[in-house]
Symmetry: C2
Subunit: 148 residues, 2 copies
């Protein structure tokens, strides 16, 4: 009985390990989203962090992405060159810069979102109502657990 429990922990942990491995690989290579050409993982990740609503300050973006301000400057320059984001001066504080998505950037955002939705739909089509509910609950606990 005790032995069985230990084995279960080991196999469960290995499954989770494999999941982490596969998820890491997933977001590791460039991919084309919407009207935008191929985007690297960090490019689409940045577009995702900017979001569809109003613009974001560079420093806020650095917080969201958990990188330095210098890293944000670099990637935003690249995204600006590709016409995916816009930089506008902040009218209420001329030190800061507001970053927002262009139409092309928004189309990449939506295409990326759609990929996620499609993936989730495919997955949940293989589960019943109760399984989906428990799965989501577990993901949530896992997330809370990871935030420490």
């Amino acid at each position: 009985m005790e032995q069985k429990k230990v084995d279960r922990t080991k196999s469960g942990s290995q499954k989770l390990g494999q999941l982490i491995l596969l998820l890491g690989r997933l977001e590791k290579h460039p991919h084309t989203f919407g009207e935008a050409g191929p985007l690297t993982p960090s490019e689409i990740h940045t577009i995702d962090a900017i979001g569809m609503e109003r613009g974001v300050l560079m420093s806020e973006l650095a917080n969201r992405l958990r990188v330095t301000k210098g890293a944000v400057t670099q990637i935003i320059v690249r995204l600006e060159d590709k016409n995916l984001v816009e930089r506008t001066p902040n009218p209420t504080d001329s030190r800061s810069v507001i970053v927002s998505l262009t139409e092309k950037g928004k189309s990449a955002f939506r295409a990326h979102e759609e990929v996620h939705l499609h993936f989730y739909r495919e997955l949940s089509s293989q589960l019943d109502e109760q399984e989906i509910e428990i799965f989501e609950k577990c993901i949530e606990k896992l997330c809370i657990h990871l935030q420490k």
Copy 2:
């Protein structure tokens, strides 16, 4: 009813998205394992891929890690400098090289495994038997789904 289903997909997909985000962050910074000093994600990942059993050929390692042979050469040089792996000539084919963990490397492997086990134990302590079972089943389906 239909609306409800759409919303469920969206929120579920977002939860999964957050999980991917957090897992990506988790394995992004160096960490100390066992007797080895701080190891970068790709260093511990490589140690994990070599494993505790008999040695592995460089090319097999490249396959497991899904990187080029050149990348493997580079990381193995670094791990060798840190005395975590050993290179021995293959007696049956003198083109190839067998890579295996040193005692220090094995201690890093075990410490890393222990981190995963501990994490999984913590997580599953918050779930009941039925939830764990369904969760593992879902992870498995997710993995299968990701391998395409």
